[in-house]
């Protein structure tokens, strides 16, 4: 099956500044793809290139199998911009109707889609309110509705939850889940990692304009299994002996906790038995799962948090 997004060595320079150095990714149909990176990593520039707001300096890409900038492809794409500012003198319903017309939808299609989407984002009662009177969260909701008007095959969401309260975030999560069920691919730009963790199938980490790593969330789970161990009197012999279970064993002097990375969960009972056989008192044996945030910091590097 053809990917909905496929890029090869996409690069963007602004004068001497390299915003995106080398973007090579493939997003499959129906996939929820998280695009993660610190501020200034090149996330928004990447999205702008894919949507032809900005022309790439080098490289090639296709969107829904068509070259960048193709209008037929754009008719099947939805986009919520990061800076969602809309014409504030339009009412919510007029705004959606306008964007429906820009998608080339007929009057009948718009009359059906607009009330449905207003209901989806919880703004039915605000249909005739001008956008100028909307809060940031409401603007983001109407922006989201605008991105779904054409029943797209691919939706770009650039920081969709950054302005939202917890209820709004939940709404976005629910909409993404619904899109997944419908088979719509979602390209989610975000630095709210807990959101990504709950919604995405696969993530790419970007820093300084280059992809550091792309992986499914499942693969992360499988790749290593950190465990924290606390025993009565950790001896150097114990630490040396633990090397048969894991290559990296570290002891935290302050609290006596030993961290090691097992290959899989099945080693856990054997580890417990071995520690007791060696005559140690076992106080704690805790399997740890790295949250996406911890992985992000590990992969992207804590020093890159400022962009």
């Amino acid at each position: 099956m053809q990917p909905v997004i496929e890029t090869r060595n996409l690069r963007k320079e602004f004068g001497r500044k390299v915003a995106v150095a080398d973007l090579t990714i493939a997003v499959q149909a129906g996939e929820i793809f998280g695009f993660l990176g610190p501020n200034g990593a090149g996330k928004t520039t990447s999205v702008k290139m894919l949507l032809s707001l900005t022309a790439p300096t080098e490289g090639t890409a296709t969107l829904l199998g068509r070259p960048l900038g193709d209008r037929l492809a754009r008719a099947r794409v939805g986009y919520l911009p990061e800076h969602f500012r809309f014409h504030e003198w339009l009412t919510a319903a007029e705004f959606l109707d306008l964007h429906g017309r820009l998608y080339g939808m007929s009057k009948a299609q718009r009359d059906e889609a607009v009330p449905h989407l207003l209901a989806l984002v919880g703004l039915t009662v605000r249909a005739d309110t001008k956008l100028g009177a909307f809060s940031k969260g409401m603007l983001q909701r109407i922006g989201l509705a605008q991105a779904l008007l054409n029943d797209p095959e691919l939706v770009f969401l650039d920081e969709p939850t950054s302005g939202l309260d917890p209820l709004g975030r939940r709404l976005v999560r629910d909409i993404i889940k619904e899109l997944r069920q419908r088979g719509t691919a979602v390209f989610l730009n975000s630095h709210l990692l807990s959101e990504v963790e709950q919604t995405c199938d696969r993530v790419a980490f970007i820093r300084d304009g280059a992809i550091l790593r792309t992986s499914t969330l499942e693969a992360f789970e499988e790749e290593s299994f950190p465990v924290v161990l606390r025993v009565g009197q950790p001896t150097p012999e114990l630490l040396a002996g633990l090397a048969i279970f894991a290559a990296h064993v570290s002891l935290e002097q302050a609290n006596g906790r030993i961290t090691l990375h097992l290959d899989d969960e099945a080693q856990l009972p054997r580890l417990a038995a071995w520690v007791i056989e060696q005559g140690h008192t076992l106080y704690e044996l805790t399997p740890m799962r790295l949250s996406l945030e911890e992985r992000f910091l590990k992969i992207v590097g804590e020093d890159a948090s400022e962009g």
């Binding site: 707001l53 003198w89 306008l98």
Partner: protein, 278 residues
């Protein structure tokens, strides 16, 4: 035909932002002031018994020309003000992002906005210039020659400044764009006067400077052309037309040049907006 969506949107914006209603009310106030002023001047002329002869015609024509001159200036300023933020403002605020990622061509945004403003400015020119002429005709029975052609030249002049402002807006910030448009207008204005005074004293260098500025910005020259076809006899004589005299007759070629100039900047604006990064 998506550009018509943008035209409709632009007109709706002008209406919602109360540009149309304020322009209408202030335009009416402008015409009312002129009507009252002209009425009293003409009343005095009637008392003095000078309405029939050449003197009466000169005074009537002078007042109407002054009114048209002020209206022309107002139309130029409004042409810049309404269009100066239309592209650059939407780029700065990112409202454009969600619009042009739809299956539309970028040039359609430019053409649609231009068309909407062009129609509004044409209507406004007709309203102000036609209103002034109508008032003078009602009160004094005086009418100008070549009214449709003259008003068309005033409209062309407004469309030239509109095209330049929209073209500037695709690359410049709103303020820089305003500076560009008004400065070009001022250069043309000054050059026009240098040319006329130069012609009066038969100084070729001064006339050449005027012609050069007309090529850089053919707005003032079109106004002068409009004036000279409105009142062919009176305006050619500095003693009957005073400061509005046209000693150096604008060539008909300038009309063609002005039209090409306008189209060039419109096409440039469409190209410039299509090729820029957002």
């Amino acid at each position: 035909m998506s550009f018509l969506i943008f035209s409709g949107l632009t007109v709706r914006e002008a209406q919602r932002r109360r540009i149309l209603i304020v322009a209408l009310i202030m335009g009416l106030a402008f015409l009312l002031l002129f009507a009252v002023g002209f009425h009293y001047v003409y009343l005095q002329m009637e008392k003095d018994g000078v309405t029939g002869g050449q003197q009466g015609e000169i005074i009537t024509s002078f007042m109407l020309t002054a009114g048209l001159y002020a209206a022309n200036l107002l139309i130029m300023v409004i042409a810049v003000l309404v269009s100066v933020t239309t592209i650059s403002g939407e780029i700065d605020s990112h409202t454009i992002d969600a619009l042009i990622t739809k299956p539309v061509r970028r040039w359609e945004v430019v053409l649609g906005k231009w068309l909407a403003f062009a129609v509004l400015l044409a209507i406004y020119t007709l309203f102000l210039a036609g209103g002034l002429m109508f008032i003078v005709y009602l009160r004094a029975g005086y009418s100008l020659d070549n009214v449709p052609a003259g008003i068309a030249l005033m409209v062309l002049q407004a469309l030239i400044i509109l095209s330049i402002t929209i073209a500037g807006g695709t690359r410049l910030s709103t303020l820089a764009n305003g500076v560009l448009a008004f400065t070009l207008y001022a250069i043309a204005f000054l050059g026009g006067w240098v040319e006329q005074i130069g012609a009066l004293f038969r100084n070729e260098a001064a006339v050449d400077i005027g012609i050069l500025t007309s090529l850089i910005m053919p707005s003032e020259i079109l106004w002068k052309k409009a004036q000279s076809i409105f009142q062919p006899q009176l305006t050619s004589n500095p003693y009957t037309a005073g400061p509005f005299a046209i000693s150096s007759q604008p060539s008909d070629l300038m009309i063609i040049y002005g039209a090409i100039y306008m189209i060039f900047f419109l096409v440039f604006a469409m190209w410039s907006f299509t090729t820029r990064d957002l």
